[in-house]
């Protein structure tokens, strides 16, 4: 099959729509993950999702329902118990290990074909069906809509929680809102890159963007751009050259981060030379 024919196949088409929707949502939410320094929470929610997916498979349900229940549940738990900064890491850590333990139990109880587990861990973008695409796109668009409507208060609470509270915003409610957004975004990102590589869409693009600009909105759009570029190119390379798409996406997102850091370092060195 030629490249052109490969790209025209339905599974590549499905994958294209799915990665587009997911990359945009993950880039936007990822900006806040990096801003709020909640990368650990993002990591934990992904792993909690693994337990949910394994549980759903055990019960004979679609993994995405288990993912949704567990990721949202973990997000709300972390958001509720960890609204105060002090104990956030402990709450996240305990949630993470408890859920991973459950995941191990579910897998040991499940005697069937282990492929479902594998695709949850590493992503299986070329296996998504048309109805999966619909669900993923709807969830991603929902996330983007909520982010656009709550962008200012979310930013305010993230950079000055006490002042935001004095102006009438509830820190806890905003924390819950954000963690639900993160939960849903993690679910959709897992569809593409899997639990273990969820960082590549949630954290790497935003971390790269943060290095390059000092304006909030610009950083968020840049993060969405990086996520989209990694996802599209990753899909293309996966089809063209071969290898797992999730590997390509992860490699490209990491490369974007490294390039951003290098660019910034060069820029700083040049500025220093000008001053000298």
């Amino acid at each position: 099959m030629s490249l052109r024919e490969l790209l025209a196949t339905s599974f590549v088409q499905h994958a294209f729509y799915a990665v587009t929707a997911v990359a945009l949502a993950a880039g936007a939410v990822g900006y806040f993950v990096v801003l709020r320094r909640q990368a650990f929470a993002a990591h934990a929610i992904g792993h909690v999702g693994f337990a949910g997916a394994a549980g759903a498979v055990l019960l004979g349900l679609s993994p995405i329902f288990g993912l949704l229940v567990f990721c949202l549940g973990a997000g709300l738990l972390i958001g509720f118990a960890g609204a105060e900064l002090d104990d956030r890491d402990a709450v996240v850590g305990v949630t993470l290990t408890a859920a991973l333990g459950l995941g191990v139990l579910f897998i040991s109880l499940y005697s069937g074909y282990a492929n479902a587990t594998y695709s949850i861990l590493f992503g299986q973008i070329l296996g998504v069906t048309w109805s999966d695409v619909g669900l993923v796109a709807a969830l991603s668009m929902g996330v983007l809509l909520v982010v656009s409507l709550t962008y200012r208060p979310l930013l305010f609470v993230s950079v000055d929680a006490q002042s935001a509270a004095s102006r009438g915003l509830s820190t806890r409610a905003m924390s819950l809102l954000f963690m639900s957004l993160l939960g849903v975004t993690t679910v959709v990102a897992i569809q593409i890159v899997g639990v273990l590589l969820v960082f590549s869409l949630l954290v790497a693009p935003a971390a790269a963007a943060e290095v390059l600009t000092s304006r909030p909105l610009r950083t968020m759009f840049l993060a969405m751009g990086f996520a989209l570029a990694s996802a599209w190119l990753g899909l293309f390379f996966g089809v063209w050259i071969g290898g797992p798409v999730s590997f390509w996406i992860t490699a490209l997102a990491s490369l974007a981060y490294l390039t951003a850091r290098a660019t910034n370092a060069t820029r700083a060195r040049r500025a220093r030379r000008v001053v000298a």
Partner: protein, 283 residues
């Protein structure tokens, strides 16, 4: 006219009485320093004024009404702000959040640009307003934070430790700016501090919170040996240096052996306080 009136106020947090029988008022256009050891309830007082914590006894009127959350006529500046360490936010962005940060939805207010420009001009921050906050000096960040807090020209301004972690030159700059803001907006300003000296030139009134009591009056009325000795229950000495600075001797005890009703101090806290007292004495 009074910007704030408290009568017989008492506050309980987690079953513990923080302070009680607090009676004082703040005049419009006055500057009040709140002093006292850590954990005495200084920030709690600010939270009560902001409507975030209720009084269990007594009454409080803020700008002629009961305290309520989100009152735009009350400005509040937190001691530490995550924004200061964020790379992707300029001073102008942060001041802008003071204008429309609490607002949900897509709408854009056309007045924002001009209001932010005025706040930056008032605080003398225009020249560095477009730099990332984390690249600014401590004094510059405090000026930006004051711009953020005064966007709506509040009639009551609550500043939590605005001088902490600043060198003496920056402290003097911020004190001047607080004075300027008071003069131009006519706001009553409340400044939580751990050292009266840098603020002394502009302060009209002192609230001293310690051992569950709140004392108020002019600097002379409160920061004197009789009142403080009575407040703490042991002799306190105040030495005035030739340049008019007050060195308070006898509070080391308070920090080394917190009384049973007091806030638990960690070792770190105790250490910090010794350092402060030592610094005051050697200045």
């Amino acid at each position: 006219m009074n910007a704030l009136t408290m009568k017989n106020g008492a506050v309980v947090l987690g079953g513990r009485t923080i302070w009680k029988d607090a009676t004082f008022s703040l005049e419009s256009g006055s500057i009040t320093a709140i002093l006292g050891p850590n954990g005495a309830g200084k920030s709690t007082l600010l939270n009560i004024i902001l409507g975030l914590v209720p009084l269990v006894e007594g009454s409080l009127e803020v700008l002629g009404e009961a305290p309520r959350r989100g009152n735009r006529r009350v400005g509040y500046m937190a001691q530490t702000r995550q924004a200061d360490t964020v790379a992707t936010m300029t001073g102008r962005d942060y001041v802008g959040l003071g204008f429309d940060g609490p607002r949900f939805g897509w709408g854009r207010d056309t007045a924002k640009r001009e209001v932010v420009r005025q706040a930056l001009a008032l605080t003398g921050t225009t020249s560095f307003a477009d730099q990332s906050l984390h690249s600014l000096s401590g004094g510059q960040r405090q000026r930006i934070a004051l711009a953020h807090t005064t966007v709506f020209k509040p009639q009551l301004l609550l500043l939590d430790e605005p001088l902490a972690a600043l060198d003496l030159a920056a402290q003097a700059e911020i004190v001047d700016l607080i004075n300027l803001i008071r003069d131009t907006t006519g706001a009553a300003v409340v400044v939580v501090a751990h050292d009266l000296n840098p603020l002394a030139p502009i302060v009209d009134q002192v609230l001293w919170i310690a051992r569950r009591q709140v004392r108020s009056g002019t600097v002379e009325e409160v920061v004197n040996e009789d009142v403080l000795s009575q407040l703490y229950g042991h002799p306190i000495e105040i030495v005035v240096t030739p340049r008019g600075r007050r060195v308070i001797v006898g509070l080391e005890e308070e920090f080394a052996h917190p009384h049973p009703h007091g806030h638990d101090h960690s070792h770190e806290d105790v250490h910090e306080h010794f350092a402060e007292v030592y610094e005051e004495e050697t200045e």
